[in-house]
Symmetry: C2
Subunit: 210 residues, 2 copies
């Protein structure tokens, strides 16, 4: 199954491809689809225009490749946090911290902005984003909640809804302000506070009564 390579020389084609992807990723995420020009991308990548078009055909395809890449990276990072312990509150806190750190990071904020902005023109990308991000996250967490509910640690009639609620509470206006680039004084210093409060509220709503 191994393709014989004529020499050990590093395949230059792949090097250029990587360079293009890296440059395009940075510019598309930072400037959006319309404002990022192919010219700027070729320049940043250190290649010429025909090379870019040889690899990706046109601007839309390149954009699609970048966004899908980012979405898959996103999922990969989300899967790392699979450590459901027996300690309910600990698991909630770990999950919340991981999720929060992710969605408040600049690369993911930029991905949110771009995908939402271009959703009307790139509906497929919007789907990929949702499935790999919020969709998958919710599903995994719903399974956990369902299990905990069976064990009597929680009282949850609809785990999927509860999972969505947990993540909605967690992102909330803090996430919205971050998407809008609004720096509320103390927002960042009070993230721990926000997480603790989210968990407390969630448990008040779903902890079995007595």
């Amino acid at each position: 199954m191994m393709k014989a390579q004529k020499k050990q020389k590093l395949p230059q084609r792949e090097v250029k491809r990587k360079a293009i992807l890296t440059a395009a990723k940075e510019l598309f995420l930072h400037d959006g689809f319309g404002a990022a020009s192919m010219d700027a991308i070729t320049q940043k990548a250190g290649v010429s225009k025909p090379t870019v078009y040889n690899h990706f055909g046109n601007k839309e395809s390149l954009f699609g490749a970048i966004i899908k890449d980012q979405c898959h990276d996103l999922l990969a990072s989300l899967k790392e946090s699979e450590a459901p312990s027996n300690d309910l509150e600990l698991t909630l806190r770990k999950t919340a911290e991981h999720f929060q750190g992710l969605i408040m990071s600049e690369p993911i904020l930029a991905l949110y902005r771009v995908v939402m902005a271009e959703a009307p023109r790139f509906p497929e990308l919007a789907h990929v984003f949702y499935e790999n991000g919020p969709g998958q996250t919710t599903e995994n967490f719903a399974n956990y909640l369902s299990e905990q509910s069976k064990h009597g640690k929680l009282d949850i009639p609809d785990p999927t809804r509860a999972a969505e609620q947990f993540f909605s509470l967690l992102s909330g206006h803090v996430h919205m302000r971050a998407l809008l680039g609004i720096k509320s004084p103390g927002d960042s210093s009070k993230l721990e506070d926000h997480i603790a409060n989210t968990i407390e509220t969630f448990l008040r709503a779903y902890r079995p009564r007595r």
Copy 2:
């Protein structure tokens, strides 16, 4: 204080201005800042380019005027729902329905997309949007919650946080899917369900325990 108008003729300048604003609003909200061209705007407005530039100077200014207009309309619509009755659950439901109907409408969804996408390049617009929309809404609702809490109908230590949580639960993944243009089967038919469930969860978390 009344300016004497030389004749009863309608002021043509204002007519054209309105036409430009209407056309620009539609195109900017539908296509975003970059993809909407001044050419398309002039054409749709039925005026010529120099007229547009005479009125608004450049594309950025026109965009700013449009977005700010929309944000103020948004606030106006939000203020209409000020009917806090003594029936807590009724008020929650009315508030939720009004808010939900607003944020799920296409014009407001488009406004969200555009403002978020352009937030890095138009930070001032992002602020105007937040203050007139989520900020004001939260503040008003927090006041109501605070009152209800004093009367013993709710047990809310931090009204602003609780208000944010209420609206976060309410928008949640339903709103995100709408922003992404994802039509979940039954999403629209189950909005009433979603609202009812949000209120139930909120009350489980914040209703006084005996």
